[in-house]
């Protein structure tokens, strides 16, 4: 948290579009507003946290979606391949979708 910082420093730290309210004489609630911005994920970075967990969990969240889309696509390309000349030239990996 960045308490007790001079207001002009806040102006530097806050992006222009949100810094505009700070040009008017600063009211206590305006300071609280700015403070809440400082604690927003975009600004108040905690250096001990690794964004890795979010990347890891996103993959688990979308696994079902991308997995089934991939299965449908592979299946469909095999049907297409069946009706065209070269049945082996199906799209996607052919080796281990049966696993």
């Amino acid at each position: 948290m960045r308490y007790n910082k001079p207001a002009n420093l806040l102006l530097v730290l806050v992006p222009t579009e949100v810094a505009m309210p700070a040009f008017v004489p600063i009211q206590p609630d305006a300071l609280a507003f700015i403070d809440s911005l400082m604690n927003s994920p975009l600004l108040g970075r905690d250096l001990y946290l690794d964004p890795g967990s979010g990347s890891y969990l996103l993959q688990l969240l979308i696994a079902g979606l991308v997995g089934s889309a991939f299965m449908v696509r592979t299946f469909w390309s095999r049907i297409k391949a069946f009706f065209t000349r070269n049945p082996d030239e199906g799209e996607g990996s052919s080796q281990s979708n049966e696993e």
Binding site: L49, P51, S53, G54, S55, L60, A63, V66, F70, S93
Partner: protein, 462 residues
């Protein structure tokens, strides 16, 4: 073995490291990586990638141990002519490197392995094509585990490509500031709202950023996460990334660069033909082992060198020119030309830990033969560099210099001076010769027919 030095960028990975011995780059495989390395070789994955030209070939060599860590093997990879970095590549070069990374991951999964790194720095351009140079990037694939390199792939490839294609191609410059790729939340903020309608960018950038935000201060137990992403989902993820990257396009046409290339060149055909013949005779006279063409535009003169099978780096400041140059070189399967983005007035700096991980441009020189055609007026007039500073700079760059002097009477220089005060008293041919003669020995001097321009062939004074 004498004079071994470990490479300063080779410290992150505990699987092994790079070192130079007898003037050649070697890669040590540490004993801790034995199992994975054996799987890479025994499973046939290395062979499969090698046959496709996707991974740098190497030979295993007998050597004494280097450093304190136990060596399992020492590899001697095929040397790369010139190390380049993602912030020097054109859009299509970065895209091709991204697609290669995904293709390698696809193949690796077929052999029961997975990439543990998806760093753009692991890809180099070798003989005209992208190639994986980090042989130790693989690990055993464990059923159920997500892709450990997913975030790195998004930061190193997807985020910059999306920004270049959807916002502005110049945002690539962010890669010089962020050595581990563009942070996902930053990319998400910069991308226009409409990119949320693109499923791939929505998922891999915007939702990815939201997920990082959501879980940033929560402890995640590994056991909770394990066993939920099966192989099909993993393949689906790689496939989805591939489709997203594939759909990103950037074309120099239809942008501010466009008319620059369609506009007729500044030479009468006769002058151009004469200039070509002068460049050719200089190349044939020196027969250099490598050429740096500075201000190469779309690579017209670089081609004279690469056609002679001389490894040629074709630098230009304009992303559109570099893009067209790369596309042309790819189309003609030119193995000898590497187009790269470079602002000579602010050349690529050294970055990374201790400023030694990625080399500055000048650290990758000097080149044997430097071409600076139709360039000097941009440096001297647009960038106000005094003539004596220019001469000293070029002396550092290479042994031989083929340079074109463009006088103030030239239409292109008149254009540069049209809207600015002419403060360039030292910009004339006499001063040019006097200053360059301090650093170089003149081997040849020719006026280009049908123009006021002159081409000089110089050899550096030692």
């Amino acid at each position: 073995m004498k004079s071994e030095t470990t490479h300063p960028a080779s410290f992150r990975d505990r699987s092994g490291f790079l070192f130079t011995a007898d003037g050649r780059l070697h890669r040590q495989v540490n004993t801790s990586y034995k199992q994975e390395y054996d799987l890479l070789i025994d499973s046939g994955l290395f062979q499969a990638l090698r046959e496709k030209g996707y991974i740098i070939p190497h030979e295993e060599v007998e050597t004494e141990q280097v450093g304190a860590v136990d060596a399992y093997k020492v590899l001697k990879p095929e040397p790369i002519e010139f190390i380049s970095y993602p912030y020097e590549w054109s859009f299509s070069q970065l895209k091709d490197a991204a697609l290669l990374t995904l293709e390698i991951q696809k193949i690796a999964l077929d052999y029961g392995m997975s990439l543990k790194d998806a760093s753009a720095f692991n890809i180099q351009f070798h003989r005209g094509r992208p190639i994986l140079i980090d042989t130790l990037s693989f690990e055993t694939y464990r059923q159920g585990e997500p892709w450990v390199a997913y975030r790195q792939f998004c930061q190193h490839f997807l985020a910059p490509l999306a920004l270049m294609a959807q916002v502005d191609v110049r945002l690539q410059k962010l890669l010089t500031g962020y050595i581990d790729g563009i942070p996902i939340d930053l990319a998400s903020r910069l991308l226009p709202y409409r990119t949320r309608l693109n499923f791939g960018i929505l998922t891999h950038i915007h939702l990815h950023a939201a997920s990082q935000r959501r879980f940033r201060d929560q402890e995640v137990k590994r056991s909770v996460a394990r066993g939920e992403m099966n192989l099909t989902a993993m393949r689906g993820l790689v496939d989805s990334l591939g489709r997203t990257v594939e759909a990103l396009e950037w074309k120099p046409e239809g942008t501010e660069w466009a008319d620059y290339y369609t506009a007729t060149h500044n030479y009468a055909d006769q002058s151009l033909r004469h200039k070509v013949s002068l460049v050719e005779s200089a190349l044939d006279r020196i027969q250099p082992a490598e050429v740096w063409d500075l201000g190469a535009n779309t690579g017209i003169f670089s081609r004279l060198a690469s056609d002679r099978e001389i490894p040629t780096i074709s630098f230009d400041i304009d992303p559109g020119a570099v893009e067209l140059n790369y596309r042309q070189s790819k189309e003609t399967e030119d193995e000898w030309r590497l187009p790269l983005l470079l602002d000579l007035t602010n050349p690529t700096p050294a970055i990374g830990w201790n400023n030694t991980e990625r080399d500055a441009l000048l650290q990758r020189g000097p080149a044997e033969f430097v071409m600076a055609l139709a360039l000097i007026h941009h440096l001297a007039i647009s960038n106000n560099v005094p003539m004596h500073t220019l001469a000293a700079f070029f002396q550092e760059l290479g042994k031989y210099l083929l340079i074109e002097f463009v006088p103030k009477s030239d239409p292109q220089v008149m254009r540069l001076l049209a809207f600015r005060e002419d403060i360039f008293d030292d910009y004339d041919q006499l001063t040019f010769e006097r200053e360059f003669d301090l650093y170089f020995k003149q081997l040849q001097k020719d006026s280009i027919r049908g123009s006021d321009r002159t081409i000089y062939l110089y050899e550096r004074k030692t």
